[in-house]
Symmetry: C2
Subunit: 505 residues, 2 copies
């Protein structure tokens, strides 16, 4: 595929790909050689703690190494880790571990090629333009938050122009911001411009004002020139891995960019897409936001990763893992359990297989992937490969566009969290918040029901109390926030973290 090389540039020890250009080329040259790869979703059990990963990235890396050893042209698409969180010590990196690692985690985990820094600068520049609009009387309330890649808990609530205006503001983590969502969803720089133009900067006498009325889009797109290009790196075994787009599926969409997955599908037969934290966050968002609302490819198979301890050690939360596996199966996605063993857990394999059989799971894939890498998986993939080979590339799935936002949330609660509509309850203030959001977007001639619903919640819980008996579990809706540029309505549920600023460790 020599054509592809025209869209690739070396950036230090990684390559960056002009995915917009390449996909555009394929569109204009329908006879150009390309593949039509299948998407495999790697998602996970709901973690017991937000800071504890089940090993999705490690699994993803081991899996493509193992598939490639079997002669299958597999690749993976990962989200760029948050350097701020890694540097703060709140979380390890996200470039796998042990034998299932990317080469050069010192680059992947530590800012890659400046993508996050560029998105941070561009989002903050929008805030500066909103401030200018306030000075010029074009705006009286700014609605777009500042961002910081580095967590700082005191920034959750700030006042700017302190001592004079005392304007209250909040600051959010860069990967969670609207501009990151726009980069994740957009398929061209023109789409980015158009979406940034639709972002609501704030209000003037209660009426929304968009950035299209306030600034020139080249200021933003110039900053994003390189940030929109996915990075191509590789595993320690030489398998190709694309990295692009921000993490944090608890408070944002948290999926890789759509173009990075589309490009990977044009170049490989199997494309593993990592979507976490748990299936209730990452998989839900890939399926219900990326696929249903933004045209991303529906998975041809899925793996749900858990640790032996996550699955078994907390009886009150044990229902979650089979729930996730069964939910994906019910959607017609062949779904395999994958248990990522830690040191000293090898003797648990027979018991884990037994439990999986009792639960009528497909053949479980079990291994210490940190220690053994892909070698620990190669021989266990027969059923997975057969299922993948016999499944097609699924077509478009039903969208919720036009449905009432609350109905869509109820549908998510029923399908992704197992809580029926009648137990989705409103916290006082929720309806007012929803009505305000409806009015705000109506003010720019749009309908909130056309927005994609993005659940904002704790990564470690699916309901108000996951330890309650199934028939008593509830989901409380707290408030909504509009992101008119990315086309998303963020709905805060249960224990939501609207401004997550992890502790410095």
């Amino acid at each position: 595929m020599a054509i592809f090389d025209d869209f690739v540039s070396q950036y230090g020890i990684v390559k960056k790909i002009d995915a917009f250009g390449y996909l555009d080329y394929l569109k204009n040259n329908p006879d150009a050689p390309r593949k039509h790869g299948k998407v495999v979703l790697v998602t996970a059990d709901t973690p017991l703690k937000a800071s504890r990963g089940e090993g999705k990235t490690t699994t993803t890396i081991a899996l493509i190494d193992a598939l490639r050893k079997r002669g299958i042209d597999a690749t993976a698409v990962l989200r760029q880790p948050s350097m701020g969180i890694t540097a703060a010590g709140s979380k390890g990196g996200a470039s796998g571990g042990g034998k299932a690692s990317l080469t050069h985690p010192e680059i992947i985990d530590w800012g890659l090629c400046g993508e996050m820094g560029a998105i941070e600068a561009a989002q903050n520049l929008l805030v500066s333009f909103a401030e200018k609009a306030v000075d010029e009387g074009k705006l009286d309330t700014v609605l777009v938050p500042r961002v910081s890649e580095v967590p700082s808990r005191s920034l959750r609530s700030i006042a700017v122009d302190y001592g004079k205006g005392n304007v209250a503001e909040k600051m959010v983590l860069t990967p969670t911001c609207e501009l990151m969502q726009i980069v994740v969803f957009s398929r061209s720089m023109d789409e980015i411009s158009e979406r940034v133009g639709k972002m609501i900067a704030g209000t003037l006498e209660g009426k929304p004002v968009t950035f299209a009325d306030l600034t020139d889009m080249w200021r933003i797109t110039n900053i994003l020139t390189d940030a929109v290009k996915p990075a191509l790196t590789e595993t320690v075994n030489g398998s190709p891995v694309y990295v692009h787009g921000g993490p944090f599926a608890n408070v944002s969409v948290g999926i890789p960019t759509l173009v990075s997955v589309e490009m990977a599908c044009a170049r490989h037969d199997v494309v593993i897409v990592e979507a976490g934290y748990g299936a209730d966050a990452g998989a839900q968002k890939w399926l219900d936001i990326a696929s249903r609302e933004y045209g991303a490819q529906w998975p041809s198979a899925a793996l749900v990763v858990t640790r032996a301890t996550t699955w078994r050690d907390d009886p009150d939360r044990q229902w979650r893992y089979p729930f996730h596996v069964n939910r994906l199966e019910k959607l017609g996605i062949p779904t395999f359990p994958l248990i990522n063993l830690w040191e000293g857990e090898d003797d648990q394999v027979p018991a884990l297989r037994e439990t999986a059989a009792e639960l009528n799971f497909r053949s479980p894939i079990i291994g210490n992937l940190f220690r053994d890498g892909g070698d620990g998986l190669t021989d266990q993939l027969d059923d997975f490969v057969t299922a993948l080979e016999s499944s097609g590339v699924p077509g478009a799935q039903a969208s919720h566009k036009g449905e009432d936002v609350v109905d869509t949330v109820r549908w998510i609660a029923a399908n992704a969290y197992g809580v029926p509509a009648e137990r989705v309850v409103f916290k006082p203030g929720f309806e007012e918040s929803l009505a305000e959001a409806r009015e705000l977007v109506a003010g720019v001639g749009r309908d909130l029901n056309d927005f994609a619903v993005c659940a904002v919640k704790s990564p470690a819980t699916m309901t108000d109390d996951d330890t309650a008996p199934a028939e008593e579990r509830t989901v409380t809706l707290k408030k909504v926030e509009v992101r008119a540029g990315s086309g998303v309505v963020q709905v805060n549920l249960t224990k939501s973290l609207t401004t997550p600023m992890p502790k410095i460790v």
Copy 2:
């Protein structure tokens, strides 16, 4: 020089150079092939307005193109433009103009390879660690400011933890921060670690606490991995140009990194170093901070750029241009006037030459460099080249280390601004501020008199009132700020801008 290539990586359309590694290699291999280039300082007249450049970058680019046309191996070292300021519309880019341009200003002006973003994240991470120290009772006052690449006037004064702690803070522009100074001065990652460790995070019961006591340095150095590497780009005529280090010689050191200049001197015969705003800011800082205190090479020649209008149109400020030229000559640096013409000014050439002759200047170099590029200069460089060829590579110059800070400021005022010691006056509060600074650094076992003095002032003025008669001009000292990591004491003079946040345009 094939060895050099081992230290070069492609980063998109520019190259990045592991300057630390290359200079280390040269140190350990004294017989390796290398050059010992001469430094030429390109500086400027004091601008009439801060936002108005005289054309130093354009001149620098035209000059190396012209010198190379004459068969001289010349290069230039530029500071990285501030993307934030360019994006905000407060200033054009800084990659030259017209025929005297760098290729790809869309990269140079718009974030290069993420260097500024990385420095921003690292400096802000230090603030987060200082906050953590407050939470842990190791600190009660944070002294290190947050930074933003994008200007926002309301950030000059903020309160964090608003509604609870209401902790007053300020935010400064990324290029002006202490960490940028550390990157500019340091010759190895170890030196960066050591200097960051010496930064004063804040105080506990009035006693200073450094970052060495609060955090692991790998968190910072990992972020800076690529940011410490100078970029190599080229002019539209193919001349090599290195870009590295932050701008803003008004409020910080504002010079390129020392390693970028040292590396350029090892590879080329003539190395043009751009130092501005005016000679009172940029040249003063190259000479008195970089050369005298940090071992940077003393210039073998200089050019002082002005526009015809800057030099001639304001009679009250006309003294400044000859003052700058003569000051540099008096230091033994052969100094050439360069007048950068704008459209419609060609007919002024004879009058400009006449004035230059009256002032006993060396042969003036005059041209419309935007329009004509290096071609406008090639034939005018005989005297400059002769002077450069006959001047040697100067040795180390006298340092002011150990001298009283106020004496050093007086010496700067006399030499760089033409104001004698007796007319350097103290604003009420200055002496208290100085005493506090002395006590603060004494608290970490150091002496403020060993710090390099960095004047903080408006780029457009040299004294309290440049339009006053020479014998009445004064310089008022306002306050001092300690930067124990970079080893700098910032002294605010005259119309200083401690937190410059240009307007969004």
